[in-house]
């Protein structure tokens, strides 16, 4: 028997993090700079929601406004942090020696392992929007790693494309989890088969609308399903963009 929960866009946690005042050490940039973060799961001061799903602990729908807007350099251990850039440009700097600028369609997986620091920065006037995903690792204190990839929405149109996981061409992470993206501009039925009954899929609608096992999900809505042999996503005639995170439960 399968289980599910639905999370509507306006049911998520919301933070506006200023680059001035009490949060100035955390968020940097021009005095007007600020970050908005919609959290699907408990994170930081938002503790009224679910603690996570499977190995997912953070799912942040974030925007960085005004030049220099950043999470200042700060430390991590253990978590696998992935960012999927939707709009604008993200400069990612980490202590593995990477200074990387990522644009729409680009994504990275940074496994903090035994320790690493990173900064997330928008250097431009145009807002930077990204999805931040944190997963628990399958081993503590692994050697840190960083990889980046690119999702080509044209080549990936009207199918489910694997971005992170153990399939060819994806970014590998130390966890029984993966990320795919479904981009569609035509009515279609997409069948997703989780790798076992012990896996679940968290589907987040970046844009457009999708029906997931009969539930209509609009922009920034999400639905998790676990214990199912198959999950059916139905797209409509308009543009649809869905991020699918599969995880062992």
């Amino acid at each position: 028997m399968s289980n599910a929960f639905v999370l509507h866009a306006d049911e998520r946690g919301y933070d506006k993090i200023l680059s001035t005042g009490a949060t100035a050490a955390y968020a940097g940039g021009h005095p007007d700079a600020f970050i908005t973060r919609c959290s699907s799961f408990n994170f930081g001061d938002y503790q009224d929601g679910r603690p996570g799903f499977g190995r997912i602990r953070v799912f942040g729908d974030e925007a960085f406004y005004h030049p220099g807007c950043s999470y200042n350099m700060h430390p991590h251990h253990n978590f696998i942090i992935c960012a999927f850039v939707l709009e604008g440009k993200l400069t990612h700097i980490n202590t593995l020696g990477q200074i990387d600028e990522l644009g729409p369609g680009d994504y990275y997986a940074f496994s903090a392992g035994s320790g690493g620091l990173h900064e997330e920065l928008n250097r431009h006037q145009e807002p930077m929007r990204a999805i931040y995903l944190w997963l628990l690792p399958d081993r503590l204190l692994l050697p840190p790693s960083y990889e980046r990839g690119h999702f080509d929405a044209t080549a990936g149109l009207n199918r489910i494309s694997a971005l992170v996981g153990d399939q060819a061409g994806t970014l590998t992470i130390p966890q029984d989890a993966g990320v795919s993206r479904l981009v569609s501009n035509t009515p279609g039925t997409f069948r997703y088969r989780p790798r076992s009954a012990g896996h679940g899929v968290y589907a987040f609608v970046i844009d457009g609308m999708v029906r997931c096992d009969g539930t209509t999900l609009k922009r920034r809505d999400s639905k998790a399903v676990w214990g199912a042999d198959e999950i059916i996503y139905e797209t409509h005639a308009g543009d649809t963009d869905v991020l699918l995170v599969e995880t062992i439960i």
């Binding site: 408990n42 994170f43 930081g44 503790q47 603690p51 602990r57 700060h74 430390p75 991590h76 251990h77 253990n78 978590f79 903090a112 392992g113 035994s114 320790g115 620091l117 628990l136 690792p137 399958d138 081993r139 503590l140 204190l141 692994l142 050697p143």
Partner: protein, 72 residues
């Protein structure tokens, strides 16, 4: 694993891990210090997240670990 086994906890703000078996000597926590014996006002040495926002985890170590984890 019995309930008395030494456990590991992970900070949900940054991922810093605390292992009861290892303690955190730089912060005055000797090896074997139980999570329940750490003061409630203790915070993550790396990011300041309160003790209440740590999660007990049963995740094994990577090969060659644990070396003493050094706070950033």
């Amino acid at each position: 694993m019995t309930d008395d086994a030494l456990k590991r906890w992970i900070c949900l703000g940054c991922g810093f891990s605390y292992d009861e078996a290892m303690g955190l000597s730089a912060h005055g926590l000797t090896p074997g210090t139980r999570w329940r014996d750490i003061p409630e006002d203790w915070v993550c040495p790396d990011c300041g997240t309160p003790k209440s926002r740590f999660e007990m985890v049963e995740i094994p170590y990577a090969a060659g670990q644990p070396a003493a984890q050094v706070a950033a």
